[in-house]
Assembly symmetry: C2
Homo-oligomer: 340 residues x 2
């Protein structure tokens, strides 16, 4: 039906204008700035319907309309074309990420880049340990009974953990243990590490068994559990610029961002093969994010998912642009990590 079609055009125009001007948009302004081919009065009728359907609201009588979460949702789902990045932006991505030295470097550059491209808060998850495989295990004796276990994954991530053994450890035993652990775990997915422990215990020389038990317990405990997943956050300064757009204050949002768990849960929900995931306002389960939108996507090398990254910002954001930026950055990061 032609009417429905135009009504959607009106909604799209409202979202676009509101995002760019930051003022509630009225029927007159809409008629002027867009070629809708109808008069303000007609637009008003459409707006009344859109409001009744819950896509827009007015902050108060005699103000223009503002999209609701539901309105943004419709916009994202059906009304927006993905905005291709400009050449300059593509250049910026390459320039920013090339020449990174190690994983930490790649990720912190990524988070800065994303924040800069989108003017939002950027978050990047470290490659999940549970999906990584062991490349190498290193043991370093710290004190008589203390071992520092260093795990190097095939994604370049390096994790450490101090293990307290009940007894003093001999120098030679450390070397034996290292060899044992490496031959058992090398190449193994971390998710499977737990199941290899019994077998390893069987084959280990008796005098090493307590040690093997302690160290593998530590490995399984800290490295397989999802709690160890880490997050890099950047661009929080961008929140201050739009402070007025958040209900109340920035406080709960900043808290949530520090409380990495909350954001991690959001970001790691992206296993849905490659599609950019958008969560708008109330769609976010956590209360602190109720006034914010999250745009996230998984990144990985080839077909393999490594982790997620995305941005957090006000519901009033440029979704097409941000979705494009998030997707492009994720792709590029995937490439870079595939090389190393």
């Amino acid at each position: 039906m032609a009417h429905d079609e135009r009504r959607l055009q009106v909604l799209r125009a409202i979202v676009q204008d509101y995002v760019s001007t930051n003022d509630p948009v009225g029927s007159k302004a809409l008629a002027e700035r867009h070629d809708l081919g109808v008069s303000p009065a007609t637009i008003r009728n459409d707006m009344a319907v859109l409001e009744e359907q819950g896509y827009i609201t007015q902050p108060h009588t005699s103000a223009g309309r503002v999209p609701t979460d539901k309105g943004y949702r419709l916009f994202v789902d059906r009304l927006s074309a993905v905005k291709p990045l400009s050449v300059a932006e593509r250049r910026a991505i390459e320039k920013f990420l090339d020449g990174a030295l190690d994983l930490h470097d790649v990720l912190s550059r990524t988070v800065r880049l994303l924040a800069q491209l989108t003017h939002q808060v950027a978050v990047v998850q470290y490659p999940t340990l549970s999906r990584s495989a062991v490349r190498h295990l290193e043991l370093v004796q710290v004190a008589g009974s203390r071992l520092l276990v260093v795990l190097i994954t095939d994604t370049g991530r390096v994790e450490q953990r101090l293990v307290e053994c009940a007894v003093d450890v001999e120098r030679d035993d450390v070397a034996d243990l290292r060899a044992l652990l490496n031959s058992a775990f090398a190449g193994a997915k971390l998710a499977d590490a737990g199941s290899k422990v019994p077998e390893l215990l069987d084959t280990a020389p008796p005098h090493l068994r307590p040690l093997v038990a302690a160290v593998s317990a530590a490995l399984v405990e800290t490295l397989v559990e999802p709690g160890e997943d880490r997050l890099v956050v950047g661009g929080t300064a961008n929140l201050a610029r739009e402070a007025m757009h958040f209900p109340g204050s920035l406080r709960p949002l900043l808290e949530a961002l520090e409380e990495q768990v909350v954001v991690l849960r959001l970001i790691s929900e992206v296993d849905t093969g490659g599609a950019v995931l958008v969560r708008i306002g109330e769609e976010n389960a956590h209360e602190a994010l109720t006034g914010a939108s999250v745009v996230s996507v998984g990144y990985g090398s080839g077909t393999r998912a490594l982790g997620g990254l995305g941005i957090v910002g006000p519901t009033r954001m440029d979704y097409p642009m941000n979705m494009a930026a998030v997707r492009a950055v994720a792709r590029y990061v995937g490439q870079i990590l595939a090389e190393s």
Copy 2:
């Protein structure tokens, strides 16, 4: 002189009241809340002098007085006794920090603890690499010509760096190289690492020399340079609570906190044996910190300085309390790191 003495009491009272009430403080309120033994009129005279001397100012005529940076400075230097921490606070420190698993864990707990104790933004520097010594070097071959170098310091810090070698590397050579590097660098201060390279190159078997050169160059380049010092930041949500106390917006401050270099420079100026360093408002060189105060101190194990930690907040802060908290936490962190 008795007058000067009383005038200082007045200044102290003004600082205390202003910090606790957050309102410009007037002569009448001062006379009521403090036993200065004189009438408001007399206090007014003292205030006039204090204002002339630049210790206090009034936001506008007919408002109470507010301390200036200079006033806070005098307060910190001469008028404040270090407030001992409450038993509950000491308990909190121990409870919070005990049971940390590794360096990363210790530092991120520390930063949370500090933020919670002081209600300010907390910053903790990783133990400086330049003052650390090599405990172990690990080499892992990533691809034909790529080596992942993992450095483990005696402070428990683990750093990684990807090294691109010009040529493919043999498996056996990796082991030789590892042994060579470890025997050369083990126990050496990182600051001295550079000077050991020539000697190492001499003693190395000829076919390994290009490799040794590449790897040691990477080590020296990234690990000895101060740029690699890292920072943990926490409690930025506390800024939002006092947003109004910062000139303009939080933006520049948040930016400075992400721009770790700025804060690092501040925090690492603390080599002055154990004393808590307070920088108030304009005393901070960096413009973004001009409206903020920084309380910092070095931490270390025994006599050995490892790094710095501190807090950043509005100039209107409870200096005695924050100084006590910063000092106490630094001590405790030092102890913990000494054990591991």
